[in-house]
Subunit: 189 residues, 4 copies
DNA sequence: ATGTAATCGAGACGGTACGTCACGTCTTGTT
DNA sequence: AACAAGACGTGACGTACCGTCTCGATTACAT
């Protein structure tokens, strides 16, 4: 079993960077473990020693990139959600970040293990943060008391995610605003 | 430049059937072109002659399976949408159909070409059917006149899709009903 | 079974010509049945209807090319053999004819059937002609009475054939003369 | 740019052995790279990493099999050559060894590169050994001083090679003796 | 300071699937 | 019935990566 104390930080960073760069430059199809190792100047075994596979590397790369999902609470629920939705939509519209997310989604589809990891480490925090903000709004009487907060979160995040995955429309601030508008209308008292 | 007139219908059907069966039985990992060819009793070349790759085969298999996206219009918008949403959710919850969709999604992510095909041949019809039903409801005064129908469609389809992709919750009739309820609340006059 | 009466002479000639041309232009590696058919403007089946395979086509091409193996008999054995040997060596040195012969040799190595055909239709006549000339020389007392004529023929043809196959030396008139000289020395009374 | 220092000797031997065995057991038609790899318990890539193709494998197998071409020199030229010619003829008559040689000849005809290799690594040594023995004989006055040694070698090796390639006669000790007899008659003072 | 044990880079290994090529057969009109 | 055209099942080709496995050569810790 690997001795984490002796782990080379240089290699760890090089691998994650190489993975991100390759995704940005050549796309998912060229993102092979061998390519990551070569680009990072690292032996393949060093990757397999510390990660179970390609997907886990991407996940870690994305987790490192992702900032803390701290949501603003200015008291103005609509304004706060607009900020969040715009950020989410912008991230999906950004080619570099989007490539990583897309790659991770592919890996996710093939592995329940990884799917759970992604859900718990990456999504849950984000969704929980939104949920908390909604709960606060609900307590403040800005939402009906009977709304299911999980559904409410999905009403906000589901549409842009669907649009991004299936490329069925543009991902703009205007769109983000529209999603917030529509969702809040359904949730308001 | 294959001569489509001489194409063997027997082979075409055998290939699509084999692809569907393999997905149902052994999952995506075992869905290789060689396995499809072997199972269908067909040469690999016959697959490559008519489809650009594995993804296109899956797409065609799914398109053939998918019935016509004719939506009911009983006049009761809520009832009609509930029927549709329950069907969509059931499909996503069904392991067999879901496997095909999942496989197709993976292939999609690796090819813009295929992504466009999927969007136009598989998704657009479904989404358009929902949109038309909503438009009829809008004309009948059951929806506000100012709702953006594209957003409305996404409000219905986005949440279950998000939940399915990221496995963040159960996909049940109750859930479907909740999604319809919430969406209609936001769209009602 | 094919009805030889209806056979298309046009196709027959086109096929043999295409085979010869392809050998001359692109070499043996490109000499596929499909290439012959395409170049000849002929269906593949027309080839397989009349020949058992590629080798038989080449054989027929070569048989048609090869003139009658009539040997001169001027009474001067050395002069006659020199003429023949120079002709043989020249043929082996000629890239076009040599390509066909080489191709046929390859096919021969893989099929006893074809090897027998080549031996009987192509080689035997040539070797027999040489043998007859030697027999006449023997009768005229220009050869020892006890020489084995089959061996004598091989003493003339074997060396240049070996040299050609294995590319171990130049194939010139001088060389041909040397072979005749050496062989006759061994056969003379 | 494979790293020859890390090459697996076990694999190298297994591949060459498998190639020889397959030739002996099933013949050239079944001698595919895939069959060699399977029989040797080796990945195909391991073959392609170290040899350019099937032909080179056969060549190496034959080179390893072939003993050193050390010719006896008892002082009795006729006896020494008889030993050699009988060995050559026996080798050509032996189905197993002959299969390898035949296979190599086929491969040779398709590649100038390989042909040169075969000539230089396999044939040249053998022919040179014979040539040296003849040179010694010439020095000892057993051959005329003016004989061309290259021609003399071909007079010995050419006939049996021709007979073997074209299957025009039996390959026996008696035949070998006849060839030596005839050649020496032509070369004697 | 030195031994020792794990990590490191490199890359060969046994595999699996890829997408292509040509084989020889079969099928479909045309002549 | 032979023909041109070309789709078909078959099977080998040579390539790309997979994940595992040796190799010395660092490198960091415990003597």
């Amino acid at each position: 079993m690997p001795d984490v104390a002796r782990r080379s930080e240089r290699s760890r960073v090089a691998i994650l960077t190489a993975a991100r760069d390759l995704l940005g430059e050549t796309g998912y199809a060229q993102l092979t473990v061998e390519a990551i190792a070569a680009r990072a100047g690292v032996g393949k075994q060093t990757i397999y020693r510390w990660w179970p596979g390609k997907g886990a590397v991407i996940l870690e790369a994305l987790v490192e990139t992702a900032g803390e999902a701290a949501l603003p609470d200015t008291g103005d629920l609509r304004a706060d959600l607009t900020v969040v939705l715009r950020a989410i939509v912008a991230e999906l519209a950004d080619p570099a970040l989007s490539a990583t997310t897309r790659a991770l989604t592919i890996e996710t589809l093939g592995s329940d293990e990884l799917a759970a990891q992604v859900r718990d480490r990456l999504l849950r925090p984000q969704m929980d943060a939104v949920k908390e903000r909604l709960r606060a709004g609900q307590a403040a009487g800005q939402l009906r008391a009977d709304v299911d907060l999980d559904l409410a979160v999905e009403a906000l995040i589901g549409p842009p995610y669907h649009r991004w995955m299936l490329r069925t429309g543009p991902l703009t601030d205007t769109y983000a605003d529209g999603v917030v508008e529509q969702a809040l209308t359904g949730l308001a008292p």
